[in-house]
Symmetry: C2
Subunit: 505 residues, 2 copies
């Protein structure tokens, strides 16, 4: 009952199969855009709710800023920033008219509008009106919004022209306070990825050539997918006074002097769902961590004889009612009772492919014995994967069971990450040889293949050409540096900086 494609067979096709079979999202008739379906959107809602709570705990407030940004806002940026992203949706007309029976754009705008690829420009403009004195600082806001980047090779969740995200924007009186904010939010992303998505990440700083245009420093969390590629899971930018100067966010400080504010921005998007898929899904389909599963438990009534129906459904309802009194992770439990008139095996496999953490099959025999058949998604196919136990015990321990599943998923992914950061490559030759080998799917290093390389980098501009040639990237400069002497794995020059090299999404 597995997927058409396996991870080792055809990884990209497998990724598509997981999404289709779990019914999480699909391509839309709107080119390059996706429809996020209930199971996929439910996962996003969970991620959003968890992180939104963190945002508010840390004194940030939600706002909403316009999605249309006047073209002129990008003019200055374009002149000063060469890494300026130009692939954007441009609104040029505000009307449709019928000409010879055909609808055509009409009422040309005096100034074209850009659909936000990110909102630094338009938010800095508001900040400049809000901030007059040091008493107005810090400004700590966030918005949950849709953004558009004109991707040429769209892929569900990973790269779509429109996607959903959260973008935090803050302004501070001092550089130090802004840098602290930048790092605090990066840490909030690590916490989100590891403790909510069960997706381990590496924290670090981006090299100069990978920075967000306009940023002084870009920090990131990087995750390892099952094909050994890196996924940038979140970024946090210290923008210094760059945006403050171009938008004139200035204030009178305590010494009564005029100063420019220091700003930050940070975001995570629906791309995280792609990360969750490639961290946890297996050859049978999706596997969702309990903390973000739209349903943590699916109850499947099995009715063999019509006359059993009342008794079985009553028993299932009783179990559901009792489960609702439990609060795993200190939250309301999420349960689905799937009574659909469909073969039990079909319903079971449907929820298995969706990756529901726990599926309980409940038939007449269980009614009589007071039991339930408990199946854990992560133990599918193993002897412990099927447990018949008393409903009472199942209900009483549901919290710790879900916590154990969450922990086991994290531990497995963490082991994969640790086992697959290669540190023994010391020369450009070995490095080149390694990355010239095809990047097979890896599982706990079984095939002796590794994905990431932790090694030295000289930082010279010429090294960037070699990165391009080898089709790899520097994912980050980890926070803890050995400071040891070595040679650059790209140029062979003496180097002290430790970096993570990898292929990436």
């Amino acid at each position: 009952m597995g997927l058409k494609n396996t991870r080792s067979g055809n990884y990209p096709e497998w990724y598509q199969n997981v999404i289709n079979e779990a019914d999480m999202a699909e391509n839309s008739s709107s080119p390059g855009c996706m429809v996020i379906k209930p199971w996929g959107y439910g996962i996003w809602e969970r991620i959003r709710d968890v992180f939104d709570e963190k945002i508010k705990e840390t004194e940030h407030e939600n706002c909403y800023f316009p999605m249309f940004i006047p073209l002129s806002f990008f003019q200055k940026e374009a002149e000063h920033v060469d890494g300026f992203a130009k692939e954007m949706a441009v609104v040029t007309h505000s009307r449709l008219s019928m000409k010879d029976g055909k609808l055509v754009p009409d009422s040309k705008l005096e100034e074209p509008l850009i659909v936000r690829p990110t909102s630094e420009a338009i938010i800095a403009d508001s900040f400049s009106k809000w901030v007059k004195s040091y008493r107005d600082l810090p400004v700590l806001v966030n918005q949950w919004a849709n953004v558009v980047r004109w991707e040429m090779r769209p892929r569900l969740f990973l790269r779509t022209r429109e996607f959903l995200w959260q973008e935090g924007h803050t302004a501070h009186a001092t550089a130090q306070e802004a840098e602290t904010e930048t790092k605090n939010m990066l840490e909030a992303y690590r916490d989100l990825c590891e403790n909510t998505l069960a997706m381990p990440v590496l924290k670090g700083r981006k090299p100069e050539h990978e920075k967000f245009p306009g940023a002084v420093d870009t920090y990131c969390v990087e995750a390892m997918m099952q094909d050994g590629k890196a996924l940038q899971a979140g970024t946090s930018h210290f923008l210094g006074q760059n945006f403050a100067k171009s938008a004139n966010i200035s204030f009178v400080n305590a010494q009564n002097q005029q100063e420019y504010a220091y700003t930050t921005s940070w975001g995570v998007s629906t791309r995280l769902i792609g990360g969750v898929i490639m961290t946890h899904a297996d050859d049978e389909g999706m596997v969702v961590p309990p903390k973000i599963a739209p349903y943590q438990i699916v109850l499947l009534p099995l009715i063999k004889k019509p006359e059993d129906s009342t008794a079985v459904l009553a028993y299932v309802t009783k179990i559901q009612t009792e489960l609702k009194k439990q609060f795993p992770f200190g939250e309301k439990i999420r349960i689905k009772v799937d009574k659909r008139d469909k073969a039990p095996a079909d319903r079971f496999w449907e929820w298995t492919r969706k990756g529901a953490p726990i599926i309980c099959e409940i038939g007449m025999r269980d009614v009589e014995s007071g039991n339930v058949m408990v199946k854990e998604r992560i133990k599918l196919g193993t002897p412990e994967g099927k447990q018949i136990m008393s409903a009472e015990a199942f209900i009483a321990n549901i919290g710790s069971r879900l916590e154990n599943i969450q922990q086991a998923m994290f531990d497995k992914a963490k082991k994969r990450l640790i086992n697959n950061i290669r540190t023994d490559i010391k020369t450009p030759e070995d490095f080149r040889k390694y990355f010239s080998e095809s990047n097979l799917w890896i599982e706990d290093n079984k095939q002796g293949k590794v994905a990431f390389v932790l090694g030295k980098w000289c930082g010279d501009p010429e090294s960037e050409a070699i990165l391009k040639e080898l089709k790899i990237t520097i994912r980050c400069i980890p926070f803890d540096q050995t400071k040891s002497e070595g040679i650059c794995l790209l140029t062979g020059k003496p180097a002290t900086i430790d970096v993570i090299y990898a292929r990436s999404y």
Copy 2:
């Protein structure tokens, strides 16, 4: 400490003052779009959370559909629907390029894309892929999204080019099931407006000429603002098979015949916040119903002598901690402690103009006596508006106090609505005379002016010209009809239909 303008003095300016002084939203540098600031967005979050729960209780699931709709999707609609709204943002290019130092649109799209004014077209396209058999029905989805309509006279919350809303879309096997859905969701809107926003509404059906283009029937909830004008608070549409036919949403029914599905759509938007303002705000500023107040209680420590600071703050913290054990409306209580280094009177008036339901001033004297000074926003300026009471009693009764405020706000608005629906106008002459008088602000009918007229309508097309001439509209055909004979207040012809006539937003 009131607003620059009063309701009776200059109502439109008053509305602006309320929003500015409560710091709920502002106009943006993006033409015709608004920035929703934390206090305004916090109110929207509360409305969203309450209605989202209702959506899920009623078996609807959240999805997300693309914001870009290919132009061709509107072609057929434009041909068949004359009421077709043409004011839309049109994306024609996907790139910005630098030409002679100026950024210009580049990479013209083969087909222009429309930024969704509403999503029937793109969602029907998905439904056509999802629905094959009667077993796939009903499809019950909703999305929370931003939409764009190119308003020429934007006003904060009421009419902005971009706004936020919820749009539900469903498909059913029978017309009856779809009509039931349409009416159930209209009832859900009435419940939201009356029991959450404390804003009484009239339920009814729109006349033919006010229907949503493409709908068989449009139902609505209409509220009365304090200037006697009507605000359409929400609409629910029975679309029959119109969209199903144009998008080919067809299915094999139980009798194994091919059929078109019946669809519905329904929505409410950030416009509701404009309705809340014009229902509850007064000449001192905003008044927010406790159920949607971002903060229900604001605690203001009053520190006259520095040496009192520790004791006062400790006492305030103790009260806050105790209040958090209370669950008004069965939810977490929302409290703000405002310790800002600002004159007490300034802090008090700031929260008064924001309309926080309860403000408590707490100083050293209260620490010693174990009291709090409690001020209710709706009793501002009255003798009962200030109550010194024991902290213990205040905390113990906070739930019922907030419930009473919520109820009192609804009752006051309900009385206004009831008192100001005029039913004694029987001739076109009186009707014309009535609406030719300027529509002064009304409060509980004091000035003997009324706003709505409940009267007869003949339904003839010629009557529409008279509506335009008098600058009024038929808000709805109320569900309960007298069926009595009378004469049309527009044409003087014999008429039996009862309608609500009013000026409107």
